[in-house]
């Protein structure tokens, strides 16, 4: 029983670490246009790094049929738009100051983050 209890507590610890504490690597906006794929309930890549002080474009390609994935919101930038299915959608971002900007669907089940450095 002790073993099971320890395993349970470790599992809870792993949940906290994996979902909240771990910071995955960010994809950078390189020379090739970065396309964020909206598929299987996720944005991929979900964390992107952008340069500060200049307007940039990010592109989304939605392959997920779920209606949740249709809306894209970047609340801090007051951007709300719809992503058409199987089509590339370009979102223009203004020149941003350094910081973190979350983007997500209406229900926040699809979540991503833009880090501006």
């Amino acid at each position: 029983m002790l073993f099971i209890n320890i395993a349970g507590v470790v599992l809870i610890g792993l949940i906290v670490w994996w979902f909240w504490l771990y910071k995955p690597k960010e994809a950078e906006l390189g020379e090739d246009d970065l396309v964020i794929l909206v598929e299987n309930g996720t944005y991929h890549p979900s964390r992107i790094k952008l340069p500060s002080g200049k307007p940039v474009e990010i592109k989304f390609m939605r392959k997920d049929q779920s209606p949740c994935s249709e809306a894209l919101l970047i609340p801090d930038l007051q951007i709300s738009d719809t992503l058409p299915l199987n089509k590339l959608k370009t979102i223009q971002l203004p020149a941003l100051s350094t910081g973190e900007y979350a983007f997500h669907c209406q229900m926040q089940m699809y979540r991503g983050q833009i880090t501006v450095e």
Partner: protein, 771 residues
Amino acid sequence: MNKSIADTAKDHCDDEVVTPESSASATSSMHQELIIEGAGCASCVGKIEAALKQVSGVNQAEMNFAQRTVSITGDANVADLIKAVEKAGYNAKSHSAETEEDALDEKEKADQAYYKRLMKETWIALALGVPLMAYALITGEMNVNTTGEQVVWGIVGILTLGVLIVSGKHFYVGAWKSFLNHSANMDTLIALGTGTAWLYSMVVVFFPSSVPQEARHVYFEATAIIIGLIDLGLALELKARGRTSEAIKRLIGLQPKTARVVRDDKEMDIAIDQVLLNDVVRVRPGEKIPVDGEVIEGHTAIDESMLTGEPMPVEKAVGDTLAAGTINKTGSILFKATRVGKDTALAQIINMVKRAQNSKPPIGRLADVISAYFVPVVMIIAVSSALIWLNFGPDPVVAYAIVSATTVLIIACPCALGLATPMSVMVGVGKAAEAGVLIRNGAALQTASKISAMILDKTGTITLGAPKVTDVLIAGEYDEQTVLQLAATLESGSEHPLAMAIVESAQERGIETGKVSNFNAIAGHGVQAEVDGKTLLFGNEKLMRERGIDLGAFVQKAQALAADAKTPMYFAIGNTFAAIIAVADPIKEDSIAAIKRLQHSGIRVVMLTGDNRDTAKAVANKAGITEFFAEVLPEEKSKKVQELQMQGEVVGMTGDGINDAPALAIANVGFAIGTGTDVAIESADITLMRGSLHGLADAIAVSKATLRNIKQNLFGAFIYNVAGVPFAAGVLYPFFGLLLNPVIAGAAMAFSSLTVVTNANRLRLFKAQEH
């Protein structure tokens, strides 16, 4: 801070959708078409064709001059073709540009296909789950004790795996991808819940001795039914969601597909995207106006109700503006296209409504914060619940632990919480648009529902904004004709509505205006200028007193006029008082009823005007308003808004959107009131497309109804999760012996989000009070 509608339109253009298909086909397709702009003569044809033929890959380029299109065959990139045309001095755009309606059709097709898929998956899962459940209920036998039972349940287990793969693959793939992405969503909960139940059942089947005898129960029926029910819930939700966007579909449907243009003296029907700026368009009775324009021949009545909510048709004659999507009722007209494509008022309205429908009011923020942590927290609760059952539960502890953990994972519904706000906003904003009320965003919607004081600008808001000269009281040597001639000459340089009334009155009497020099507007007081060498002064009592002009007994006469809701103005010629000219601006027919509606809903209505106190008082009395600010200089309007805010009021400010821009911006909610479709949507949170103040009462009523709906949804979703999760974990078991069945949890979860969407759809039935 706020963008104009033109900016919004521009943003949309910048966000041009480029399809991979179109870019791929751009280099491989054999035939493509471009629309050419700026080709005014037949000789342009050769030039454009030659320029296109120079592009590598082009075999043939043929221009249809009448239709201003050019068809190209060969392997050439669209961008190169457009560049070549531009180099030749013209503008070109791809004919294949997707219209809003095409996009909508495509979305509906995709949704329909997705719905069919979900329903198929539902039936497959239920086809296995329902008979299994019936067997369990009838026989009560779902245990594995003999080798025979091992074989039978083993086969059922493999069949269930098939169901999980066919009907639930999207949950498992989604959960796995999210996991790799360090995120968790509804898929994670469903996959973990059903996966745990199936895995445990398989352990019971293949290694029965590893679990105590009383815990050798299988849960294949629960697994299959849960997957089936959740698929069913998603399918029904998809249908219900379709209804939430009816308003935007209706707006998009207003756009006609073709237009009849007159080119080279010939009338021809062309596709709407081929209509160019300054094209002459013919519209017959009963037809829709295809693009925005200005009437150049004929007169008619236009039904603008679909855009403005104004039920009465509007008379249009030469020089009047027309909006795309409205319906020509009576006469045949010719008009010049002034705005086409994405620049039309209709296109801009569609854009604004779409954006507003996706934006969130602050009330949804708490739900957003909870949503962000929800799934991992539920996972932790499930593990903790299992541990508690294992440590303190009755026998068979393993079975209880598995059931409680599975049920917790299944019942928790982040979707209901996440959908609560956006679904209501979607329906509410659409409903408002149907009534001719354009709400900029969710925040404006929420604040509008809390407005406690409403400031109404007098001119053009409460009144028609078209003042007329009612009285001319002569004081000195000059007769009425001369006074009006000089006053009209003086005011011909001013754009003030009162000045325009005097100029119009003079024109009506056939009086011609002369030349004016040294014109000087004295803000809040009046104007001064020189005409025929005489210094003319026109304005209020303050101005005359400052200049030391004696008004005699005319002050009382002016007061009498003001008490009759007229605006008296003093006119002096060469520093001698000459006349009082009184102007009245009639109150709009329905202003009084609309103001009553606002007051009945508990709003403190305050009138604001630059007029003198007496006139303001008379107008306010007529309109049923007890509080007013008079003699307010234009720059003081925002101060008055702040004054009310200091008193703790949530202030709405209604004005024409141009002169009142700073006050509208500083108010908690700024309402720009329009006159038909030609409305200026500058710096307003909410735009009323029609001139009636009923639009204002409608806007507040719809925002209150939407907020009430959001609160119901949020409350329902919170209570559902707050009560459901502990119940599933088994908190009632020690007291009442109650533990939730995972199948019931699956049904509850599937229908919780459907309930939220259905409740939001109730808003579609909202009707503004009869007026």
